[in-house]
């Protein structure tokens, strides 16, 4: 049966295509008599399209084009710009802070992937198996609706390095600490990952919960009949069913963490001693770190390098996981 079905399916598809073909051909003469895109329709289509084109053009495509142009220029945006070729890219690559920023960003992305990626999945699986999941999902989503700056200010009090800080007080009850959290080169970056995971996990939990509702109960029942426990159900039913969603959320998380800016900017400004300097923060520093006017050429050059890297990475990722996501 397994071999016959695809063959039959292929036959049906071929017949279906043949049946459609004459219909398509027969529509052509009608199309000649009455143009498929009369000017009136074209104008109204254009009228509807123009605002969107104008908005995209002004706020999306034009800045992209300007970014490419500025990456090849030296400009302070006050005096006329001068063309410098690829000098800005060379400046960025030879900047001693560049490898530090890349390393920190990679470390942040890796830590977020190792610790932050499984947590929403586990939370969603647990929530989906309990009653009143609405309350739990609302609680999980709560950090997402808190304004990021407020969340960071809140966590700053948690991370207070003195013995009166929230975390240090709690740890003090069991004789630990006080720990310097954001004040130490070793713990600053993991501290940012922790807050970032708390702040962003809720949105992913909701995505997983929505995806889990599409998993048929019959699969779980069949697994139960086969004697599968909770872990085996998750491994053999839940994860394969969520495969497509998991792959998408993973690439989105990698892209998001590669562009991490808010946490290092608001918590540590990249310190201590550049321990939390990320690529996006370096871009910001190039552009706005100097009150005499930024190095906008270097900022745009690094922006393009990051965009290029993420584009290539995404393509490789999608190609590498194509068989998994479509299987």
């Amino acid at each position: 049966m397994a071999t016959i079905e695809p063959v039959a399916s292929a036959v049906e598809k071929t017949q279906d295509a043949r049946m459609r073909q004459p219909a398509a051909e027969s529509s052509r003469p009608r199309a000649r008599r009455r143009p498929s895109w009369p000017p009136g329709d074209a104008l109204s289509t254009l009228a509807f399209l123009l605002p969107m084109l104008a908005i995209f053009g002004a706020f999306s495509w034009y800045p992209i084009v300007r970014t490419v142009i500025m990456s090849l220029q030296h400009t302070n945006l006050v005096q006329p710009a001068t063309w410098v070729g690829f000098a800005n890219f060379s400046t960025v690559i030879h900047d001693p802070l560049f490898p530090i920023a890349v390393k920190n960003t990679a470390e942040f992305a890796l830590l977020a992937l190792v610790f932050g990626y499984p947590i929403p999945l586990i939370a969603a699986v647990v929530m989906s198996s309990v009653r009143r999941r609405g309350i739990y999902s609302a609680l999980a989503f709560l950090p997402v609706v808190i304004p990021p700056v407020v969340a960071v200010l809140l966590w700053k009090t948690f991370y207070d390095a003195s013995s009166t800080g929230v975390f240090n007080t709690v740890l003090g009850w069991i004789g630990l600490g006080p720990y310097p959290w954001l004040q130490s080169q070793q713990t600053a970056l993991p501290s940012l990952v922790l807050e970032s995971t708390w702040a962003n996990a809720g949105a992913t939990v909701i995505i997983y919960l929505a995806a889990l509702t599409a998993v048929s109960n019959e699969l779980y029942e069949a697994a139960s009949v086969d004697g599968a426990g909770l872990w085996k159900k998750v491994w053999h039913v839940t994860l394969p069913q969520l495969r497509g969603v998991l792959l998408v959320t993973m690439i989105l998380q990698i892209i998001g963490t590669a562009q991490v800016f808010l946490e290092p900017y608001l918590f540590t400004s990249g310190g201590p001693a550049n321990a939390t300097l990320t690529v996006l923060l370096l871009i910001y520093n190039y552009a706005f770190g100097n009150s005499l006017g930024g190095d906008y050429g270097a900022a745009t050059a690094l922006s393009l390098m990051l965009a290029g890297f993420l584009a290539v990475f995404s393509l490789v990722y999608l190609r590498a996981t194509r068989s998994w996501s479509s299987a």
Partner: protein, 463 residues
């Protein structure tokens, strides 16, 4: 179909007539507006910092009205403004700065050299008191071509601010603050041990403040961060005094444990911590008391300020800085002339004109704002003393608690901030300070070598 076509034609005709009429009306209106505006020059000016009190805002509006009355051909639009590096850079690039704004001493010359400030030379030199400006101070607003691109409005010297209450609790005499760095270290240890507060705290944020304060310490030990001027200046961040200053911080942080637990203070943060009684001593500008009152609600009784301890060295000096008023480069000749009139009226007259000085002080005093905060003269010392006598009845700061500073500052050698790429030099030093305060094994010579290279690159590029 025909009637539909006629209707369409009629609509088109109507729309055309309406459009032409609108254009005509618009053109006439614009023409009238242009003829009116040709008589009046409108400028926007930096007013107060965001969040200022209603009384202060009303007072500023009253000054604007008075200026407009005296200058009917000038219309002034006030814009809230606070200089911070990132916001200034963004506004400068976007061209959204007001016509008149303020910049620190560190930036005016470079901005002028980069063509980012308007040339004010002829208008400023025409001011009757131009020759009274302290030459070292007016030089801060003069670019390398000799053009005046900014006008000094205030000057300060770095000072050691201390909490008199914590001094008393630690068994120290608040009327005898430390006069050497060794005493600072000893007092900090005592304060830390007896009160639990940070005996001595230092700005350690990655926003150039860490480098600014380290440079102050280095100056006080006799070191300098660069030699020469302009793009040919040589960075000397790794001088022996910088190593000494960093070792001093390292001892206080890791051996004496007298610097508390927060090593990432920015300018505002450390002011708040100090006003909240969490810091025994810290270094900042002599005029910081204004912010301590306005933004941190300090109890005046705890405040004390003294001069920065200087090493016994001929080159030891106190770092000085200040603020200048400047005009955006796109301003027209008429706008520049109006802007300089405003700068004269708002910033300079209270320093050279008795009536204006008294009026300012009275208003500030009535709105419970500090009057008489220690500063440095932007004109000569005699003019400064004279202006202080004018406002004496309105001085409301704890003058006696400021005597250790006010009685000693004029005998100290004042040293300007590094001339070339000042903010970049500070920025290069930020991670060095952070490393020393957060890593017990920080390799000071290696860190300084890297910082020196970064600073030298910035100097060469003029950034």
């Amino acid at each position: 179909m025909k009637s539909k076509g006629r209707a369409m034609a009629s609509i088109r005709m109507g729309a055309t007539v309406a459009a032409v009429s609108l254009l005509a009306v618009g053109a006439v209106t614009a023409s009238n507006a242009a003829s009116r505006s040709s008589d009046v020059t409108t400028i926007s000016v930096a007013s107060l910092i965001p969040g200022s009190t209603k009384a202060a805002t009303q007072e500023f509006a009253a000054q604007v009205a008075e200026f407009e009355k005296a200058n009917p051909s000038i219309k002034v639009k006030s814009v809230q403004y606070q200089w911070t590096g990132p916001t200034f850079a963004a506004k400068l690039a976007a061209g959204t700065l007001p016509t008149v704004f303020t910049v620190p001493f560190t930036d005016a010359r470079s901005l002028g050299d980069n063509g980012q400030l308007a040339d004010l030379t002829s208008q400023v030199k025409a001011l009757p008191y131009f020759n009274k400006f302290n030459p070292a101070v007016i030089a801060e607003g003069t670019d390398s071509k000799g053009q005046v691109v900014a006008v000094p409005t205030a000057a300060y010297a770095q000072a050691l601010h201390y909490n008199r209450k914590l001094f008393t609790e630690a068994g120290l005499n608040p009327n005898k603050p430390p006069t050497t760095w060794a005493q600072v270290m000893a007092d900090a240890t005592l304060i830390s041990q007896k009160t639990g507060a940070a005996g001595y705290a230092e700005m350690g944020a990655d926003d150039n403040t860490a480098g600014w304060i380290l440079t102050t310490l280095v100056y006080s030990l006799g070191g300098r961060m660069e030699t020469g001027i302009g793009n040919k200046a040589v960075a000397t961040l790794d001088n022996p005094q910088t190593v000494s200053a960093l070792n001093m911080l390292k001892t206080m942080r890791w051996t004496d444990n007298s610097m508390g637990s927060d090593f990432s203070y920015g300018w505002s943060d450390i002011n708040q911590a100090f006003a909240a009684g969490q810091v025994g001593m810290y270094v900042s500008g002599s005029d910081v008391y204004t912010n301590l009152v306005q933004a941190s609600n300090i109890n005046p009784s705890i405040y004390g300020v003294t001069t920065i301890p200087l090493a016994r060295s001929k080159t030891a000096g106190v770092l000085g800085g200040g603020t200048l008023a400047a005009v955006k480069p796109s301003a027209s000749a008429a706008e520049v002339a109006a802007a300089v009139k405003w700068i004269d009226f708002y910033y300079e007259q209270p320093l050279v004109n008795e009536a204006q000085a008294v009026r300012n002080a009275k208003t500030l005093s009535e709105s419970k704002q500090p009057v008489g905060v220690p500063a440095l003269p932007i004109f000569n010392k005699a003019q400064y003393a004279l202006a202080n006598t004018w406002i004496k009845p309105y001085i409301n700061v704890p003058v006696n608690q400021m005597k250790p500073f006010t009685s000693g500052i004029f005998s100290q050698q004042l040293v300007p901030e590094p001339e070339a790429s000042t903010q970049s030099v500070y920025h290069a030093l930020d991670p060095v300070v952070e490393a020393v305060l957060t890593d017990q094994n920080a390799n000071i010579p290696s860190l300084l070598k890297q910082a020196n290279q970064a600073a030298q690159t910035a100097i060469k590029q003029g950034t």
